[in-house]
C-alpha cells in the first residue's frame, strides 16, 4: 500500500507542470519559426544583390560568371518560396548555413563568440543585481533620506545610454587615472569597464522595482506580525522582504537579457571585445545574411530560455502562481 501513497503527489506534480511545459515548448517552436521567417524576408528587402555580398560586397567588381556561380552555389537562383522552404528545412535540422564573409559555418562563428558575450552578460547581471539589492537594502534601513538618495541614483543610472557611459568610464579610468585598459584585453581587468557599462543602467531599473517592493513589504502587516514574534531587522529583511522584492526583479530578468544583448552590441564594439554583439554588427554591415539570421535565432532562443526560466523561478518564489 505504500506505493500508491508515494506515487500520488508525484503524479499531481506531473499534472501540474506538464501542460505548462508543453505549452511553453509549443510557444518556443512558434516564435523560432516566426523569427526565422521575418528575418529571412526582411534581409531580402535590403537593396543590392546577395551574390555581390558573397563575393566581397558591391565594390568587388565581380564578373558575371562569378556572380552566377555564387548564386548557384548558395541556391539564390531558385524562386523565393523554394529558397524559403529549403532554408526552413535546413533550420529544422539545426543547419544555419555558411557565413558569406567568413567562409565558415555560422554555427562555428557563433560558437566562438557566444562564450565571451555570455560571460559579459552574466557578470553584468550579477553586478547589477548586487548594486540594486544594496540600494534597496540601504533604503529599507536608512529611512526616508536614504530612500530619496537611492531613488535619484537609480533614475540617473537608468537614464544613462551605454555609449556615453562607456566613453565616460574610459576617459575616467583609462585616460585620466590609467587604472584600467581602454580595450577589453583577456582576463579580469579587461572585463571591469565593459561590465560596469552594462550593469549600471540595468541596476537603475532593477533597483527601482526592488526598492519599491521591499519598502511595501517592510510596511505590511505580516512584517509587523513577524516583529511582534521577536524577529529582528535582519530576519525581517532576509526572510520576508527579500522574497517579495525578488518577484518583480525576476519578472524583469527576461527584459534584462534583451537589454544586455543589445547593450553588448555597443559595448563589444567600443571596447573591441570579441562577442556575438560585435559579430552581429559586422554581419549586418557586410550583408552576411546567414550570420545575421543565425545570430538572431540564437538570441531569440536564449531570450525564450530566459523567460521560461524566469517563469519557473516566479512559480518557485510565489506559490500563488502555481494554482493558476
Amino acid at each position: 500500500m505504500a506505493l500508491p501513497v508515494a506515487a500520488a503527489p508525484r503524479s499531481s506534480v506531473a499534472r501540474r507542470w506538464l501542460p505548462w511545459l508543453l505549452l511553453r515548448l509549443g510557444g518556443v517552436v512558434f516564435v523560432l519559426w516566426a523569427v526565422a521567417t521575418v528575418t529571412f524576408f526582411a534581409i531580402r528587402l535590403i537593396p543590392g544583390d546577395p551574390a555581390e555580398a558573397i563575393l566581397g560586397g558591391p565594390g568587388s567588381q565581380a564578373s558575371a560568371a562569378a556572380l552566377a556561380k555564387a548564386r548557384a552555389d548558395f541556391g539564390l537562383d531558385q524562386p523565393l518560396p523554394l529558397q524559403y522552404l529549403h532554408y526552413l528545412g535546413r533550420l529544422a535540422v539545426g543547419d544555419l548555413g555558411q557565413s558569406y564573409a567568413l567562409r565558415q559555418p555560422v554555427i562555428t562563428v557563433i560558437g566562438q563568440n557566444l562564450g565571451g558575450t555570455l560571460l559579459l552578460a552574466a557578470v553584468s547581471l550579477v553586478v547589477a543585481a548586487a548594486i540594486a539589492l544594496g540600494l534597496a537594502a540601504w533604503s529599507a534601513w536608512g529611512g526616508p533620506g536614504a530612500s530619496a538618495v537611492s531613488s535619484v541614483l537609480e533614475v540617473v543610472a537608468a537614464a544613462v545610454p551605454h555609449f556615453w557611459l562607456a566613453i565616460s568610464l574610459i576617459l575616467l579610468f583609462s585616460t585620466t587615472l590609467d587604472w584600467l585598459p581602454p580595450v577589453s584585453i583577456p582576463g579580469a581587468a579587461g572585463l571591469i569597464l565593459p561590465v560596469l557599462t552594462l550593469a549600471i543602467p540595468l541596476a537603475g531599473f532593477l533597483g527601482q522595482v526592488m526598492r519599491e517592493s521591499i519598502l511595501d513589504a517592510m510596511a505590511s502587516p505580516f512584517v509587523l506580525a513577524a516583529r511582534a514574534r521577536g524577529e529582528g531587522s535582519n530576519g525581517v529583511f532576509w526572510r520576508h522582504a527579500l522574497r517579495h522584492a525578488a518577484i518583480p526583479a525576476i519578472g524583469l530578468a527576461g527584459w534584462a537579457f534583451g537589454a544586455l544583448i543589445s547593450g553588448a552590441v555597443v559595448v563589444e564594439t567600443i571596447f573591441a571585445r570579441p562577442g556575438i554583439g560585435r559579430s552581429l554588427l559586422s554581419a549586418v554591415q557586410q550583408r552576411d545574411v546567414p550570420l545575421v539570421v543565425g545570430v538572431v535565432i540564437v538570441v531569440a532562443l536564449g531570450y525564450m530560455l530566459v523567460t521560461t526560466l524566469t517563469d519557473l523561478a516566479d512559480r518557485l518564489v510565489d506559490p500563488r502562481l502555481r494554482a493558476r
Partner: protein
C-alpha cells in the same frame, strides 16, 4: 499582588500629533482587559506600545511588563520579550501572514527565535499548536500558504504562532473583525480558554458586544484619550460618559426593527402601496463543480427589506449578481416591477437599469479614484455638467456636507465613502436597492449611522432593500423578512422575527446562538 502589566499616563506622539494621551491601565494574569474605540482612537497604538512597536515617541510615568521597565529596556531585551512573553494577534487575519510562506513556517519562526530546537522538533510542535488552536488537519494546513486557507483558519494560525511559547500576555488586536459569525464565536472561545488557563489578555475592539464577553476591565478610548473605564459590568449597566452610551446604543444585535441606533431622530414615513417590486423564482447558478445558487426564490415588496443571511460561500453574493442581472441564471428568473428582467437582452434591460441600484462592502473600490465625489454623483444623476445644486442636495440627503463634492473618495473616511456610494445609488431614484454587506467593514458606531441612514431613506423614498449580510445582529435589525442561505440553498425563510424566535432549521439555530451580544461578565 501586583499586576502583570502596569501602564501609567502613557502618551505616544507621531511628529507633532499626539495619538495617545494620558492612558493608564493594568492587566492581571488570567484576566482580560479591553480597549474599545473607533478606528483612529489610538487603541492599537496603545497596545503596540507594550511591544515597543509603535513607530512613534512613547512617554509614560510607568510602562511595565512583569519586572521589566519597557521604557528603558534595550531593543535586544524587547525583542526577546516579543513572541516569548508577549504574544500578538494582529488586526486583519487576511494580511498578517506572509503570503509567500507556508503558515507552519511562520509559527516555527516563533519557536526558532526563542528556543534551541531542531527543525524536526519545531515542525512537530507546529502541528500540535495548530491542533490546539482548533485547526483541523493541522499537518496539511502547516504546509499550506495563507492564500489556501479561509479567514478563520488564518486567524487560528496567527493565534497558534502567538501562543507558541505560552506567553504570559496575549495582545489581540481586532481578532474577529471581518470573520463569519460562527468563526468569530470559535475564535472568542479559544481566547477565553487561554484566559482561563492563566494568560493575561489585552483585547482591542470596536465592538462592545465582542468585548463584553471576555473582558473584566474595559477602557473606552476616543481621540487618544480614555473617556471612561471600569469593570465591564458597570460600564454596560451604568455607562457614565455619553460616548460610551453611544457605543452601546450602536450595537444592532437584539434591537427591534426601526429602533434607532444613533441619537438622530427618524424621518416621517411616506405612504407606499406594498406591491411586489422584485421577485425571483427557482434561481440556480453553477460555477464549474460548485452549485453556487440552488433553487432560490423570494419576493420583495415596496418599502420593505428582505434580508439574506449566510456565511462566506453560501451563495448570497451570487444571488445579488443574478438579481442585478450581472450574471445569467442557469435556471429560474427574476422579474422587476412585475415585468421580466433576467431573461431580457442587455440592450432592452439598459433603459430600466436605473430602477435597481446597488451598494457594496468596499465602497472605495467601486469609485473611479481619479474622479471627485461631485463628478461621481453628477454622472449618476445624469444631469448637465454644472448642476451643483442637485449634487449638493444629494450629499445633504445622505448626511454629508456639500463641500465634500470637491474631494476625491480616497480622502474620505470609511463611513463617508459608504454614504457617497449610497448617494450615487439613490441618485437615479431607484425602486430597489441591493445592499451587499454594506456595513461589514465599518466600526460599530459608524455602522449604526449608516444603518439609520438606510432606514431613513427607505421611509422617505419608499425604497425596497435586498439586504445581504453575514451579521445576524444587523440583519435582524434591518429586515422585515429573512432568508437564511447555506451552500447555495435556502434553509429557512419567513418573517424575520418568526425566524429568530422559532428557528426551524438546525443551522439557523447555530448561527443565532453564535451572534455576539452585549452581556456583562459576572
Amino acid at each position: 499582588m501586583t499586576s502583570l502589566v502596569s501602564v501609567r499616563n502613557l502618551s505616544v506622539t507621531f511628529g507633532r500629533a499626539e495619538v495617545v494621551a494620558g492612558v493608564s491601565f493594568d492587566i492581571e494574569a488570567g484576566a482580560c482587559t479591553a480597549i474599545v474605540g473607533e478606528s483612529g482612537s489610538g487603541k492599537s497604538v496603545t497596545a503596540r506600545s507594550l511591544l515597543g512597536l509603535t513607530g512613534g515617541a512613547v512617554r509614560a510615568a510607568e510602562l511595565r511588563f512583569d519586572q521589566t521597565d519597557l521604557l528603558t529596556a534595550s531593543p535586544r531585551r524587547l525583542q526577546r520579550l516579543r513572541g516569548r512573553d508577549i504574544g500578538f494577534v494582529s488586526q486583519g487575519a487576511l494580511v498578517a501572514l506572509d503570503p509567500l510562506r507556508p503558515v507552519g513556517r511562520e509559527i516555527a519562526d516563533s519557536l526558532r527565535l526563542h528556543t534551541a530546537s531542531t527543525a524536526v522538533e519545531r515542525s512537530k510542535r507546529v502541528i500540535e499548536l495548530l491542533g490546539e488552536a482548533g485547526v483541523p488537519q493541522p499537518a496539511l494546513r502547516a504546509s499550506q500558504r495563507p492564500g489556501e486557507l479561509s479567514g478563520g483558519l488564518r486567524q487560528r494560525a496567527i493565534i497558534a504562532s502567538a501562543i507558541a511559547l505560552r506567553p504570559r500576555l496575549l495582545i489581540a488586536d481586532e481578532p474577529t473583525t471581518a470573520l463569519d459569525t460562527t468563526v468569530q464565536a470559535g475564535i472568542l472561545e479559544l481566547i477565553e480558554r487561554l484566559r482561563d488557563q492563566g494568560t493575561a489578555i489585552l483585547l482591542i475592539s470596536h465592538d462592545l458586544a465582542v468585548v463584553s464577553r471576555l473582558a473584566s476591565q474595559v477602557l473606552v478610548m476616543k481621540e487618544g484619550r480614555v473617556v471612561e473605564s471600569g469593570s465591564s459590568a458597570r460600564l454596560i449597566d451604568a455607562p457614565q460618559h455619553p460616548y460610551t452610551r453611544r457605543l452601546l446604543n450602536a450595537v444592532p444585535t437584539d434591537r427591534p426593527r426601526f429602533d434607532r441606533l444613533t441619537e438622530a431622530p427618524a424621518v416621517p414615513a411616506a405612504e407606499v402601496t406594498p406591491d411586489v417590486v422584485l421577485s425571483a423564482s427557482g434561481l440556480s447558478r453553477q460555477f464549474g463543480d460548485l452549485q453556487a445558487v440552488d433553487d432560490v426564490s423570494f419576493r420583495l415588496r415596496r418599502g420593505r427589506t428582505l434580508g439574506i443571511v449566510g456565511e462566506s460561500g453560501s451563495g448570497k453574493t451570487t444571488v445579488a449578481r443574478l438579481t442585478l442581472a450581472l450574471e445569467r441564471p442557469d435556471a429560474g428568473s427574476v422579474s422587476l416591477l412585475g415585468e421580466p428582467w433576467s431573461e431580457l437582452a442587455e440592450t432592452s434591460r439598459r433603459p430600466r437599469r436605473p430602477r435597481i441600484g446597488a451598494i457594496y462592502q468596499d465602497a472605495l473600490s467601486s469609485f473611479d479614484p481619479r474622479l471627485t465625489v461631485g463628478r461621481i454623483l453628477r454622472d449618476s444623476l445624469g444631469t448637465p455638467r454644472r448642476d451643483y445644486l442637485a449634487v449638493a442636495e444629494l450629499l445633504r440627503s445622505v448626511g454629508l456636507s456639500p463641500s465634500l463634492a470637491a474631494r476625491r473618495p480616497r480622502l474620505l473616511s470609511g463611513g463617508q465613502q459608504q454614504r457617497v456610494a449610497i448617494a450615487r445609488a439613490i441618485a437615479p431614484r431607484p425602486d430597489v436597492l441591493i445592499c451587499d454587506e454594506p456595513v461589514s467593514s465599518l466600526d460599530v458606531s459608524v455602522q449604526a449611522q449608516v444603518l439609520d441612514l438606510l432606514d431613513d431613506l427607505q421611509r422617505s423614498l419608499g425604497l425596497s432593500y435586498l439586504f445581504i449580510t453575514h451579521d445576524l445582529g444587523v440583519v435582524r435589525h434591518m429586515s422585515d423578512d429573512l432568508i437564511v442561505m447555506r451552500a447555495g440553498r435556502v434553509v429557512e425563510a419567513g418573517p424575520t422575527e418568526d425566524v429568530f424566535r422559532n428557528p426551524a432549521d438546525e443551522y439557523t439555530r447555530k448561527l443565532i446562538a453564535a451572534a455576539p451580544r452585549i452581556e456583562a461578565v459576572s
